[in-house]
């Protein structure tokens, strides 16, 4: 009997991946908080999770035969979004440092949660293997 890690670990592996990706995005937003004309971006976690749960990536229209659709990572198939600024600055920057920082911290906590679930899954598997 083979163990399928995909079935055993469920959505948590993908969730951790998305959290890491979002942390990267938010870190980039914060890094560019003083860059003129930089537009803050973010992932729509909800739609990614729905895509991952239904097991199919969002469809991508191929407009040229040389366009390669195989490089699209289905985990991240939803488009990156631009934030709607509530108070844009004169230099065209839309990063709100406090908001981004709050989101980054929240994302780190969510990452820990997803990671703990993943960890428990592995511990469960270990327990099953050892017959404890």
């Amino acid at each position: 009997m083979a163990i399928s890690f995909d079935n055993a670990l469920g959505i948590h592996e993908q969730a951790v991946n998305v959290r890491v990706r979002r942390a990267e995005l938010l870190a980039n937003n914060i890094a560019n908080s003083d860059t003129p004309n930089y537009k803050a971006r973010d992932l729509d976690f909800q739609s990614i999770l729905q895509g991952a749960q239904s097991g199919k990536s969002l469809p991508m229209t191929v407009t040229h035969q040389e366009h390669n659709s195989s490089i699209v990572n289905p985990d991240f198939a939803a488009e990156l979004m631009y934030r709607i600024p509530n108070q844009p600055s004169v230099d065209g920057n839309t990063v709100n440092l406090q908001e981004e920082m709050a989101r980054y911290t929240e994302n780190a906590i969510d990452y820990q949660a997803s990671f703990t679930f993943l960890d428990k899954k592995f511990k469960g598997l270990m327990g099953a293997i050892k017959g404890e």
Binding site: V20, R21, A23, E24, L25, A27, N28, I30, A31, N32, S33, D34, T35, P36, Y38, R41, I71, V72, N73, F76, E79, L80, L97, M101, Y104, T105, A108, Y111, Q112, F115, L118, D119, F122, K123, M126
Partner: protein, 144 residues
């Protein structure tokens, strides 16, 4: 692992803010450096930040429209175009033949505000790096 990208991103931001702090220090130090001609006078220096150019799209990597960016880059340091402060003081040893001395166009109040902004941004990015470090350390404990 893209968590290590956060180190690059936050690191680039910290280095950019350091450059900004450096220019501020230089501007403040030279705020009163008088000169006898407009051409020789020190002008306030300002760094120009830009989004760091994305790497070439690698096979298997995240598609271009989805890439977060690689942090911040200092495109260059420009000298301010603000008019120089010209002062009539014939007794000054640096005065030109008309009795004028030229002061740099450094706005000390602006520089102080810039300095605080740079130092805060640096702090925030150090915090980002710290959180990313904790996240990575957690990965190492998987299954333990």
């Amino acid at each position: 692992m893209s968590l290590s990208n956060i180190f690059d991103i936050a690191g680039s931001a910290m280095s950019a803010q350091t450059i900004r702090l450096n220019t501020t220090a230089s501007n403040m130090a030279n705020a009163e450096s008088v000169s006898s001609s407009a051409g020789e006078t020190y002008r306030a220096r300002k760094p120009v930040f830009e989004l760091k150019a994305l790497d070439e799209l690698q096979p298997g990597a995240v598609p271009l429209g989805m890439q977060a960016g690689q942090g911040v880059n200092v495109a260059g340091i420009v000298e301010s175009d603000m008019p120089l402060r010209q002062e009539y003081s014939p007794g000054h040893p640096m005065a030109d033949e008309n009795g004028y001395v030229y002061y740099p166009n450094v706005n000390v109040v602006e520089e102080m505000a810039d300095m605080i902004s740079a130092s805060r941004s640096f702090q925030v990015n150090a915090e980002i790096m710290n959180t990313a470090k904790q996240m990575m350390q957690r990965v190492l404990t998987l299954g333990q």
